[in-house]
């Protein structure tokens, strides 16, 4: 195995593109190193991207925020701008791993790991976040929603790396929230999860919404029908019930050691309903 510190995104991309064997990107390493040590993954080349200029910074851009691919969970949690703009995104990212892991883990790593249960992914999708991809053919922007391809797989092509994730500007009276279900209270992996990002008018009526679910399908699901169920409402009980039903209808989970199909489906609806209420309150709505 070889280890390379990339000094630029181009260099990282080139090294990954040229490697004939199994090449992996190292940012926080909280998934990669665990898999390598467990013997589940044998790697020929590790490309460390943490030294690429700007990859560990958070910068304002067009009213939104650009978050470098190597920004750790705990750094996000201490950044007032991100916390104000996307509390749901931050609370999702802060659920990855333990306190120790938070010092290393990144949202982009969480995304590229390809797990349907990645905590930050539904929150980023609900936030309409966009990643910047550097590859052999130059750079491109891509919605977070389009990165996962299935369990353990992404749509990134050979030689492509994500260098940052962009949280776009949001109107006033917007709020977001993320909830996951785990059998314990921390240090666990989502059995089902839901993120809701919504905007209200001055009267407290929902004017825009995005609802995303995790761990209930091969990849994150953006549930348009769930958003439609609450747009134009003040999140009354009927709207919440319709939201939950739409979420349940969008679930295509598996039965496995972490939960049953019935449990995941039902819980996704419950979590979406509860997350919508939190997001609504954060947007300034009251009932």
């Amino acid at each position: 195995m070889r280890y390379m510190i990339a000094q630029s995104a181009k260099a990282a991309s080139a090294a990954l593109a040229e490697e004939p064997g199994n090449a992996r990107v190292l940012a926080g390493g909280t998934d990669l190193l665990v898999q390598m040590k467990a013997g589940n993954l044998r790697v020929d080349l590790v490309v460390d991207i943490k030294k690429i200029p700007g990859i560990r910074s958070i910068t304002a851009e067009a009213g939104g925020l650009r978050i470098g691919a190597a920004v750790a969970g705990s750094e996000l949690g201490e950044h007032a701008g991100v916390c104000a703009m996307g509390p749901g995104v931050v609370e999702a990212a802060r659920l990855i791993g333990s306190t120790q892991v938070q010092g290393r883990c990144t949202m982009v790593g969480n995304l590229c790991n390809g797990s349907p249960a990645g905590d930050s992914v539904p929150a980023l999708v609900a936030a309409a976040a966009v990643v910047r991809v550097e590859g052999p053919e130059g750079s491109r922007d891509c919605p977070v929603l389009d990165i996962p391809a299935g369990p353990g797989r992404t749509t990134l092509k050979k030689g492509e790396i994500i260098t940052s994730v962009f949280l776009p500007a949001r109107p006033e009276r917007s709020g977001d929230a993320y909830l996951r279900f785990i059998p314990r209270t921390e240090m666990d992996i989502a059995v089902a999860s839901a993120a809701v990002n919504l905007t209200l008018d001055a009267g407290g009526t929902v004017t825009a919404a995005r609802v995303a679910l995790g761990a209930v399908a091969p990849k994150v699901v953006l549930v348009d029908a769930a958003a439609r169920a609450i747009i134009g409402t003040k999140l009354d009980d009927a709207a919440l019930a319709a939201l939950a039903a739409a979420c349940e209808a969008a679930c295509t989970p598996i039965d496995d050691k972490r939960g049953t199909i019935a449990f995941r489906t039902s819980t996704a609806g419950v979590l979406a309903r509860r997350a919508a209420q939190i997001a609504y309150a954060r947007a300034g709505g009251s009932k």
């Binding site: 279900f181 992996i189 939960g259």
Partner: protein, 744 residues
């Protein structure tokens, strides 16, 4: 040795000094199993079966042996085949011989100069398996047509026509069940299942073995009983006990799981073959797949009760499986199930069943939590249906001194009624509950054990004392033993250092199990101290020129007594020690004994939970433990045992389980999907220590380490069932299972 009636005012026993191993442990200096090193040491790794059940047709190790840096490769053929069933089972569990019996069963091992070479060599070993049908569920394994795990192991007490997986049965009880059930106003019959759980000790098994060309060997390992390790390993390797010295490291948790061997014989065989020291450390994956979890169970319970809460009869049928080799854990479950009750008619039947799972090892009160969970669940349901207070009903039926127990003996002084009364008087029992909340309670019981014990106590010339004992300290026992030595000798705790010596330094000491150490090693320490005191009194008498019988030991000093009282100033322990070269040489006390009279232990747990009706999530709101400790020598560590047992039981009740796929492979061999509780899952657990002296110990001590894992299963099940409004009969009560029950 009987209780000292006069001994009630303790000076050191009952205080809470720092434990002697504390600083090393919190600073990272303590030497655990994986910390031992030796010059020229090799690293060993083990190849494990990926199949639940497979015949090993051949193993080709030639390619592995050809890799530079590989110094030894062994398979099951490198061990002698014992005629003794018990020893052969332990050995074939360490390394399969002809058949791999479970996913993770060891089939070969490599020692090499680096970990990377050792791992590469494992990949170069070619095993030709013939995959066989498997069975992992206890009920399925009892069916006559089930795949047979091991043939020919059934004892005579198993009726003909049953599956060969049923290896033995047992029966306990007394009285007329039919007449008893006829007297009942309500009889409830329920079936229960519990999943296999792992002790979850944080330190994986680790050892360093060094065998030399002259036939001697040294072994350093993390274990609960290095004398037993010596017995097993020397027998497997054809060595005399004197040729193998075993030293126990500090231990990062055991809970019963480190009372046998898994890797130690393998490391010794590799060291003997390579001529080099060999270090072997398990990964967490290996710990889950190939060490000893507890049994899985399937149980039927039938209990009758009158309208006023008198239990008229109880019957239990227990089907336990401890994996691929025979064991007798079900006997302990069958004995413990109804132990808390004074019954006219009671009968328990136990069956042991083989499955393609790893060989069970002890786990805190082995066999008792499952049976008592089932019994206490039915008692709770009877109380619910008859509209009775569950604590009053337990008091009405409680076993007490003179009760003929459900397993045969008549109880002596026991603390069950006192713990129940303490629970009833505690504010927790009457605190209000909110919506979706429930309160559960359960009694718990464990036999406790004494056993073979050998202790030396050396009086140092500066007036300090060294205690040498042979039981690895898994719960603060060195502190407790020092406290008892201090009490007896009349010198400060700080002047005593207690160490755990190797197998060459003392006579045979039984394993640290059965909650025996504070009781039995404490008793032997008290006796050894009295032996040393007698010698010191003789030295004082010699100095004074009086008869030794005319000397008393008071507050750490010899004083002349009787007719000589006041004639000479007292000689302190330090005075006598300093002068010992002139009065006959070194002074030491010694005691060896096979201790009886451990004294059974009872506890009562009370828990409040809230169940989320939409997700089935259980939140533990409040937890209080009441337990009889006989005499709490070091109350911090008694409370620690009580809290720790409760936490492990909470994990068992709510989320922990061995999950097998259709292919018979373990699906959750890691702490991500084998869910032990994390700190944030738990409230602060309140403890109430009762002290009903055990007549079998000079200070009244009873073992406390095992009883506290017994009640949580039923306490949680009863609380959750009451909160959810539906009776839960299978563990773990994971959220999907609770939600499914709520939705009917």
């Amino acid at each position: 040795m009987a209780l000292d009636e006069a001994k009630r005012n303790f000076r050191y026993v009952g205080s809470r000094p720092n434990r002697p191993d504390g600083v090393d442990k919190v600073t990272g200096r303590a030497q655990y199993g994986a910390d031992a090193t030796a010059p020229g040491m090799l690293t060993a790794v083990i190849l494990r079966s990926p199949h639940a059940h497979a015949r090993i047709k051949s193993i080709d190790t030639s390619a592995a042996e050809a890799i530079p840096g590989v110094r030894a490769v062994i398979t099951g053929a490198d061990f002698m085949r014992s005629d003794d069933d018990f020893l052969r089972d332990v050995q074939e569990n360490c390394m399969a011989r002809d058949v791999a019996l479970y996913d993770g069963h060891a089939v070969a091992a490599v020692a090499a100069t680096t970990p990377a070479i050792a791992k590469a060599a494992l990949r170069a070993i070619v095993v030709d398996y013939e995959v066989l049908p498997h069975v992992t569920d206890v009920d399925a394994a009892m069916q006559p047509g089930a795949p047979v795990v091991l043939a020919g192991r059934a004892l005579e007490n198993v009726p003909a026509g049953m599956s060969e997986n049923v290896t033995h049965s047992c029966e306990f009880g007394h009285g007329d069940l039919t007449a008893g059930f006829a007297k009942a106003d309500l009889v409830i019959e329920r079936s229960f299942k519990t999943a296999a759980t792992h002790q979850g000790y944080i330190e994986p098994h680790a050892c360093l073995a060094s065998a030399t060309a002259d036939g001697k060997a040294d072994l350093w390992c993390c274990t609960q009983g290095h004398f037993f390790v010596r017995t097993l390993c020397s027998a497997m390797l054809g060595m005399e006990a004197s040729q193998l010295r075993v030293t126990a490291s500090e231990i990062g948790g055991g809970f019963g799981g480190k009372t046998t061997v898994f890797i130690e014989p393998v490391a010794l065989a590799l060291s003997r073959k390579s001529g080099r020291p060999v270090k072997l450390v398990m990964t967490r994956d290996e710990v889950f797949r190939a060490t000893g979890p507890t049994i899985s169970s399937s149980m039927d319970i039938k209990i009758g009760m009158t309208k006023d809460g008198r239990i008229t009869a109880g019957e239990a049928t227990l089907r336990y499986s401890g994996g691929a080799f025979p064991n007798a854990t079900v006997d302990m479950g069958a004995q413990a199930g109804f132990a808390a009750y004074d019954l006219e008619a009671v009968r328990t039947h136990g069956w042991n069943v083989l499955t393609n799972r790893p060989k069970e090892a002890a786990y805190r009160a082995p066999g008792a939590p499952q049976a008592i969970y089932a019994v206490e669940s039915v008692v709770d349901e009877l109380c619910q249906k008859l509209g009775l207070d569950p604590l009053t009903v337990r008091l009405k039926n409680a076993a007490r001194k003179g009760t003929l127990s459900s397993y045969g003996p008549t109880f002596n002084e026991i603390g069950l009624v006192a713990t129940l009364e303490a629970a009833k008087a505690h504010p927790h029992y009457t605190a209000p509950l909110g919506p979706n909340q429930g309160r559960g309670l359960s009694c718990g019981f464990w036999f406790n054990f004494g056993g073979n014990t050998c202790v030396s106590l050396n009086i140092n010339t500066d007036g300090t004392v060294g205690v040498t004992e042979g039981n690895p300290d898994i719960g603060g026992s060195r502190a407790s033993i020092s406290l008892m030595a201090a009490e007896e000798l009349g010198i400060p705790y700080e002047n005593i250092r207690t160490i755990v010596a190797d197998t060459n330094s003392l006579g045979y000491n039984d394993v640290t199990d059965g909650s025996r150490v504070t009781f039995a090693v404490g008793l032997a320490t008290i006796k050894a101290a009295r032996d040393a005191i007698n010698k010191m009194k003789s030295r004082a008498a010699q100095v004074w020129g009086i008869d030794a019988d005319a000397v008393e030991w008071v507050d750490g000093a010899a004083v002349p007594a009787g007719a000589n009282a006041g004639k000479f100033p007292p000689l302190t322990l330090a005075d006598i020690a300093a002068n010992s070269p002139q009065t006959g040489g070194p002074i030491a006390g010694h005691h060896e004994v096979n201790v009886d009279g451990a004294g059974v232990s009872f506890g009562v747990h009370l828990v409040d939970v809230e169940v989320d009706p939409e997700t089935g999530f259980t939140k533990i709101l409040r937890y209080t433990i009441f337990q009889d400790a006989g005499k709490a020598v070091h109350p911090d560590y008694v409370e620690g045992q009580m809290q720790g047992g409760a936490v492990q039981g909470i994990g068992w009740a709510l989320n922990e389980e061995y999950i097998y796929g259709k292919d018979g492979r373990l699906q959750n061999p890691g702490f991500l999907d084998y869910r032990i509780p994390v700190a944030s899952d738990l409230p602060s657990i309140e403890t109430v220590i009762l002290e009903i002296p055990n007549p079998g110990h000079p200070y009244g001590v009873r073992g406390v380490g095992e009883t506290p894992i017994v009640p949580p299963l039923a306490a949680l099940a009863n609380a959750v069932s009451r909160a959810a409004g539906v009776r839960m009969t299978e563990l773990p009560m994971s959220p999907p299972r609770i939600l499914a029950a709520l939705k009917g």
